[in-house]
């Protein structure tokens, strides 16, 4: 069957099958690291890399969640709301039940809270056939409101809790939270590429009607994706609580932008169907390395925000595949 002509074709295809467009974020990340290494003396140090890894942990977990939703062509704006609820729940459980067992319970309670909020988003989105954009805008504020109400507007300090081992104990020079985040991305990657649910996410992103016609249970897939995304936000909240030693409703502030821009910068299409969690991990690193570099170079904070805004626009402009697409709106 395999003739020489076939082999020639195969090698040509190997060349064209290299996803150049998908690799662009990796090239950007490498270029950024080299440039910063040259520009800032203290960039390329083990300590700084550990710092980058540490600050990338929470965004990576959040971006993983957002990516699952974006892959199927939806958008999840409820990141900050879900984190708020999960963080407050975790803190309250920690206060009620100190000790190692309490910490485990707090973590699971936070995961459950995040997943529940996500499942609610998904169920409303599917049940009412409402755009995910609007639904999750709503659940974002529901989450925030719930969180403020639960703690009466204040902050719950959990400075001495066992949960903090996630941030304080280091393994191979990196906090446990970094390993947890890496593990999450890995699990999500396996889920995305090797399970029926993952396949269904891509199918829904590529063509929801067609997927439904083929017998893919679209509604269940969507609810599952939003719930899994919520689970990630819950985990992000646990890591954030461990890092900060406190839980409050503001713990997620500013996280949505970072998560969505990481996904986009990484090359996950907002139209759905293209990209994935590994892309988003690269996107997170681009965003975190850039902000780390700007701090090292002494760029004023507000300018840093503007640069991040610019980054997301450039990423969209570069990553969109305009072939065969006459008009864009």
């Amino acid at each position: 069957m395999t003739t020489t002509a076939g082999k020639g074709r195969a090698s040509a295809r190997l060349w064209t099958s290299v996803p150049w467009r998908a690799l662009a974020p990796v090239v950007v990340l490498a270029a950024l690291c080299i440039a910063l290494g040259l520009a800032a003396d203290n960039f390329a140090t083990a300590g700084n890399f550990a710092r980058i890894a540490t600050s990338a942990a929470v965004p990576a977990v959040l971006a993983t969640g957002v990516t699952l939703v974006i892959l199927m062509g939806g958008i999840d704006l409820s990141v900050e709301g879900a984190m708020a609820v999960a963080a407050v729940v975790a803190a309250l459980v920690l206060v009620a039940a100190p000790g190692a067992l309490g910490a485990v319970a707090a973590a699971f309670a936070a995961l459950a809270a995040g997943a529940a909020l996500g499942a609610v988003s998904g169920a409303i989105h599917v049940g009412l056939r409402a755009p995910s954009f609007m639904v999750t805008l709503g659940t974002w504020f529901i989450g925030l409101g719930l969180a403020v109400w639960l703690v009466g507007g204040g902050t719950v300090s959990v400075r001495d809790s066992e949960l903090r081992v996630l941030a304080l104990v280091r393994l191979g020079g990196l906090p446990l939270s970094v390993w947890v985040a890496l593990g999450t991305v890995l699990i999500a990657w396996v889920l995305q590429s090797r399970t029926r649910l993952g396949r269904a996410l891509f199918a829904v992103g590529g063509g929801e009607d067609l997927a439904a016609q083929s017998g893919v249970p679209v509604g269940r897939v969507k609810v599952a994706a939003f719930a899994l995304a919520g689970l990630c936000y819950g985990l992000g909240a646990v890591l954030a609580v461990a890092q900060l030693g406190q839980g409050n409703a503001e713990i997620g502030t500013g996280r949505l932008f970072a998560a969505v821009s990481a996904a986009v910068v990484g090359g996950t299409s907002l139209l759905g169907g293209h990209g994935g969690v590994l892309h988003s991990l690269v996107g997170v690193l681009v965003v975190v390395v850039l902000s780390n570099g700007m701090i090292l170079l002494g760029v004023p904070p507000y300018l840093q925000q503007a640069v991040q805004g610019l980054l997301i626009i450039i990423a969209v402009a570069v990553s969109l595949d305009r072939r065969g697409q006459g008009l864009v709106k």
């Binding site: 090797r194 029926r196 396949r199 590529g206 063509g207 997927a211 016609q213 083929s214 293209h274």
Partner: protein, 500 residues
């Protein structure tokens, strides 16, 4: 095998099916024809489980069945091959083949990709398609996608312990002749394992492939006959319920073209697509462009309308040099383009009929005080009556119009824009028989008005019937030019011999 008894379906009070009885026997190819809106698609949807009937029964091997979803239909050995674009383009061929059915490849919660690939190769072999199952569906040609669809439907036989019924909903509408032949030969080979229901607008095709034909009109079956006992003209008459005009392509209205040249093309070429193309298109002339996919005719019309630039040669419109850098340039010089993809290129589906008509020349509806709705509406109403567009009002969004009426709106748009050279790319694709005749009439009207028309038609018969002259393209060059005057139309074979 599969029987429908007195099936009914209504949408919001409108009866789409009013008691249809229909039968598919083992190993049979059943043709299903009818004008748009006759109920063919509705019947298909009920059989495929994407919609549920309002009344009547569906029986499989004599047993009443309830088909609440495509999955239910699949479990009963019924699968549908959808018209076009029903593969998910970002998934691989293998993933598409087993979409929604990939449970059998799961080992310990993970999909066994090697097993999936093996199974995909097995299914592709059945339809004689030699492609890598790991390729993304988006990289395939339309014909290949259609074959993958067929393979997907046939994959059912490994899961279901009975003979299959495969519903083919206009499988040929995006295919060229050679591809259609391939599809048909596969269908014939597979007749031992499956029965087919074949829906198409092309009556000659239906008769060529089917054993038996059902004709539908206004939500009911009006005739059933062995395919060998009827002619396309018979079918046509049964479909429209009125006498077929003796001359389908209005040949008697074909007047000799005028002497002045509207569009002159000299030595035009584009690297890798076509080369050394020269012709004159006269006012009042229909110039048919024949050729298989890859012959260069698609690229040629894209260059003519300014979507792409040529590498060699030049063009003149009405004696003036013409080198369009964009479709806007082409429109400004009096060219109009009626694309085959009406839904994405021809009309803004969400806009009203009136707004679409003035799209290419908004100033027709302008007053010194801005856009005048009454002017736009008057213009729209004028076209509605002139072209016989069937629409509730001038405000109706174009997506609510039938294919034929949409096509009329596209033509009205270009006439409003003052186009003197029209490029018609498959103007009757997906248009029912009655509306086709109206499109033909429009083409004759346009010629009478002195419009020059370059025609890329769905079938050779149509190309010959409508054109004054036929240019045949092969491998990027013009291989023949045949006159086709009224009363002296060339045979199809004479054109085919220059095509391949």
């Amino acid at each position: 095998m599969l029987t429908a008894e007195n099936l009914r379906k209504s949408y919001a009070g409108v009866e789409a099916l009013r008691g249809v009885s229909f039968e598919v026997r083992p190993g049979e190819v059943v043709g299903l024809v009818g004008e748009n809106g006759a109920g063919k698609s509705t019947l298909m949807r009920l059989l495929a489980g994407t919609q549920r009937p309002s009344g009547g029964r569906i029986l499989r091997d004599g047993q009443p069945v309830s088909l609440a979803s495509p999955r239910d239909a699949n479990a009963m050995g019924i699968a549908m091959v959808f018209q076009e674009q029903s593969l998910i383009l970002n998934l691989s061929v293998a993933e598409n083949l087993f979409l929604g059915q990939d449970g059998e490849f799961v080992r310990h919660g993970l999909i066994d990709r090697r097993a999936l690939r093996r199974a995909a190769l097995h299914q592709l072999a059945k339809v004689g398609l030699d492609i890598d199952p790991d390729r993304r569906a988006g990289e395939l040609s339309f014909a290949q996608r259609q074959m993958v669809e067929l393979a997907k439907a046939l994959a059912l036989e490994d899961r279901v312990d009975r003979d299959l019924v495969i519903l083919l909903d206009e499988p040929t509408s995006v295919l060229e002749q050679a591809e259609i032949d391939l599809l048909f030969s596969r269908v014939r080979d597979l007749q031992s394992r499956a029965s087919f229901v074949f829906v198409s607008h092309r009556l000659d095709e239906v008769l060529a492939i089917s054993d038996r034909v059902y004709v539908m009109r206004d939500g009911a079956v009006v005739a059933e006959a062995p395919a060998s006992a009827v002619t396309p003209a018979d079918l046509h008459q049964m479909m429209v319920g009125r006498g077929v005009r003796t001359e389908y392509y209005l040949e008697s209205r074909q007047e000799p073209p005028r002497s002045d040249v509207a569009l002159a093309v000299r030595g035009l070429g584009q690297q890798g697509a076509f080369r050394d193309v020269s012709f004159d298109l006269h006012r009042g002339e229909v110039l048919g462009l024949a050729g298989v996919i890859g012959s260069g005719r698609e690229a040629l019309i894209r260059v003519l309308f300014g979507f792409e630039r040529p590498d060699a040669g030049g063009m003149e419109v009405e004696g003036q040099a013409y080198a369009p850098r964009s479709p806007a340039d082409a429109v400004a010089r009096g060219l109009g383009f009626v694309p085959s993809e009406r839904r994405t290129e021809g009309l803004v589906m969400t806009l009203s009929l009136g707004a679409n008509i003035t799209l290419a020349r908004i100033r027709e509806a302008m007053t010194p005080w801005g856009l005048s709705r009454s002017k736009e509406q008057a213009l729209a109403r004028d076209w509605i009556s002139r072209l016989g567009i069937r629409t509730p009002s001038a405000d109706t969004p174009c997506r609510n119009l039938s294919g034929g009426n949409q096509q009329k709106v596209v033509l009205a748009k270009w006439r409003t824009a003052g186009s003197r050279v029209l490029i018609l790319d498959h103007p009757t694709r997906g248009v029912d028989v009655g509306a086709k005749e109206e499109v033909f009439r429009l083409i004759r009207d346009l010629c009478d008005e002195g419009v020059a028309i370059l025609l890329v038609a769905d079938t050779l018969e149509e190309t010959i019937g409508l054109s004054h002259r036929v240019l045949v393209m092969r491998d990027g060059a013009i291989s023949a030019e045949l006159p086709a005057p009224a009363g002296g139309k060339p045979e199809q074979v004479r054109i085919v011999e220059h095509m391949v």
